[in-house]
């Protein structure tokens, strides 16, 4: 019983740190993109190869980065987080 609270507190802190970092990363990527759109339209209109502008490429990458960040979180949660939760639960019983 005494052992439970510190273990849970460590886990909660780790989860919070990761959640906040990933949220900040998503905000930085998305608002970085929006501010580029607002402040440097000619740059995003640069044609990299026929049919592909820098803006289209970056826009698609924002969507891919959302998938990537979720993948990072799920990988951590499915392994480390779930394992720790299971071991804390076992101790409680």
């Amino acid at each position: 019983m005494d052992d439970r609270t510190p273990a849970l507190r460590t886990l909660a802190a780790a989860q919070w740190r990761l959640a906040v970092s990933l949220t900040a990363a998503m905000m930085a990527i998305y608002f970085g993109f929006i501010l580029l759109v607002a402040f440097d339209k000619p740059l995003l209109g640069t044609i990299l190869r026929p049919g592909l502008s820098l803006g289209t490429l970056l826009g698609a990458l924002v969507i891919v980065s959302a998938w990537g960040l979720i993948w990072i979180y799920v990988r951590w949660a499915n392994s480390h987080y779930d394992r720790t939760v299971a071991s804390i639960r076992k101790e409680v019983r």
């Binding site: 609270t5 849970l8 507190r9 886990l11 909660a12 989860q15 919070w16 990761l18 959640a19 906040v20 990933l22 949220t23 998503m26 905000m27 998305y30 608002f31 993109f33 929006i34 501010l35 759109v37 607002a38 402040f39 339209k41 000619p42 995003l44 209109g45 044609i47 190869r49 026929p50 049919g51 592909l52 502008s53 803006g55 289209t56 826009g59 698609a60 924002v62 969507i63 959302a66 998938w67 960040l69 979720i70 993948w71 979180y73 799920v74 949660a77 499915n78 779930d82 939760v85 804390i88 639960r89 409680v92």
Partner: protein, 509 residues
């Protein structure tokens, strides 16, 4: 080429009646399994991760995103992409901060979570107020959109369309509750994803499987500026404000939050967000292909000739690449999309009225099961009738700003209170009340004073508040109100019970 849009087409009508028949069949089956409030609000908590992922995608991909964004891309190219990205980036936030704590702390509504360690009545009244404001504006936008679209697609009168959508949606929710609503969402999501995929497939077939060849053809015909940012984002503050509302509003939409109660545990909630984000992102990438496909294969003049806003771009494209049969299919999919979204919204509004206000405020948490179910169904009837009335009352009005407003209220009224209640020990009842009321009222007030209402609707020369979406001001304001009031008026009980919250968030009930 545009000859068939707007006429009651046999294939469209057949597909449409097919969809109604199948979904009412599902509702009949679901009604026999809806025996308790746990079934009515949460589908018995037996929905799988993949099923809930599809249902979340179904709840989120409205006709506005299918027809509206494809149309926006077809008329202005790159600018349409900015919108689709804004609608996607909220999902990682749902994953990191909301989905798992919500599943572990609440039962039926998001107010369950906020009220967990606080005093029930004040928190639930404020929570229901915010929820109903979001649901009302979202419903108006959907109903008016439904009336206009169905008029364009099938040639039915506006009022007939609104009444049909309202009645069928009420049948789903009233008899089949969350079980029927979930399966209607799944059927709709599969149809919408399948239809958009097939349409994109037929477009790319003509461009040697290369999206770049398609974009290049668009640039050759309409100039390279269709691949560059245009007029949509001219004021950076406006863009950031809308972006904040879209990002954090997704994590505060009551009909989305309610879906996390339909899965058995937090891990499944996590899995379902992964699926939902994959489906929604894929769908928005497809709409980009559809928009450019319509720009090249239908032509901007032909799209504008049918609807000035471009909403008919995707149906016109379907006719151009797949004939009138395919047009009928896409038209029926669009109708199904509206029906499903409206059903999800109504169910979440009914939960706020019956579970939060009636059961937990009026009856102080002690209402027998059969009474709870009866009140939930009465609330559904009330909201269904209200949505039909609002749909007809707002006929011919410009309601485009209402979806943005619904997101702004969700982001300001629900999201800050939710995050503070789960992660901040010092949060109190008065703080939660202040955060939710300040969020809702400031969003409503600033939208009223914004250019979207003052200039575009009331025709005044200028607006007192400069931003079209209030998110940039109201989201920080709601956080500030919650924190300041909690610190000024500490609550011993809430502070002590935080350990319980923390344990439950991570270890489950």
């Amino acid at each position: 080429m545009s000859g068939s849009v707007g006429q009651p087409h046999l294939v469209a009508v057949l597909f449409f009646f097919g969809f109604i028949a199948v979904t009412l069949g599902i509702t009949w089956w679901a009604a026999r399994h809806t025996l308790s409030t746990e079934h009515f609000y949460a589908a018995g908590r037996r929905v799988t991760g993949l099923q809930n992922g599809l249902a979340l995608a179904g709840d989120y991909m409205s006709a506005a995103s299918f027809l509206g964004i494809a149309g926006l891309v077809s008329l202005s190219g790159f600018d349409g992409l900015i919108y689709s990205i804004g609608f996607l980036v909220g999902w990682p936030i749902v994953m990191f901060l909301i989905a798992e704590p919500l599943r572990n702390l609440g039962r039926y509504t998001f107010a369950d979570v906020v009220a967990f360690r606080l005093r029930q009545a004040p928190v639930r009244i404020a929570g229901a107020f915010g929820t109903l404001a979001v649901v009302a504006f979202y419903l108006i936008a959907q109903m008016v959109g439904a009336g206009n679209l169905i008029k364009l697609l099938f040639g039915l009168s506006y009022e007939t369309a609104v009444v049909i959508v309202g009645m069928v949606m009420m049948a789903y929710v009233l008899f089949g509750g969350m079980i029927a609503t979930t399966w209607v969402q799944i059927v709709k999501a599969v149809l919408l994803l399948g239809g958009a995929f097939l349409l994109a497939f037929l477009v790319l077939l003509r461009f040697g499987w290369s999206p770049l060849a398609l974009f290049d053809a668009a640039a050759a015909r309409y100039g390279a500026q269709v691949l560059a940012p245009g007029q949509l984002v001219s004021d950076p503050w406006d863009a950031v404000s809308l972006g904040l509302a879209l990002m954090f509003g997704t994590a505060g939409l009551p009909h989305i939050l309610m879906r996390f109660y339909t899965v058995p545990d937090a891990r499944t909630a996590r899995t379902s967000v992964s699926y939902a984000t994959a489906f929604i992102g894929f769908f928005y990438l497809l709409t980009f292909i559809l928009g450019f496909g319509a720009m090249v294969l239908v032509g901007q003049d032909a799209i504008r000739a049918v609807d000035r806003g471009g909403n008919m771009a995707a149906p016109l494209l379907a006719e151009a690449v797949g004939g009138t049969g395919f047009l009928g299919f896409i038209a029926a999919v669009a109708f199904a999309t509206i029906l499903a979204v409206v059903a999800g919204l109504t169910l979440s509004g009914a939960a706020a009225l019956s579970h939060d206000l009636w059961v937990n405020v009026v009856r102080r948490g002690a209402a027998p099961e059969h009474e709870q179910l009866r009140v939930a169904r009465l609330a559904t009837l009330l909201l269904g009738a209200l949505s039909i009335a609002l749909g007809i009352a707002f006929k011919g009005q410009n309601v485009a700003y209402m979806v943005g407003l619904a997101f702004a209220i969700a982001a300001s009224a629900n999201f800050p209170a939710l995050v503070l209640s789960v992660f901040w020990r010092q949060f109190t009842t008065r703080g939660a009340q202040a955060s939710m009321l300040v969020g809702t009222l400031s969003a409503l007030g600033l939208i009223w004073l914004s250019p979207a209402v003052q200039i575009r609707i009331l025709g005044r020369p200028s607006a007192p508040f400069p931003l079209s979406n209030p998110g940039l001001v109201t989201i920080p304001l709601a956080f500030l109100a919650g924190v300041a009031v909690s610190l000024l008026m500490p609550e011993k009980d809430a502070h002590e019970r935080f350990a319980e919250v923390e344990q439950r968030v991570h270890l489950g009930a």
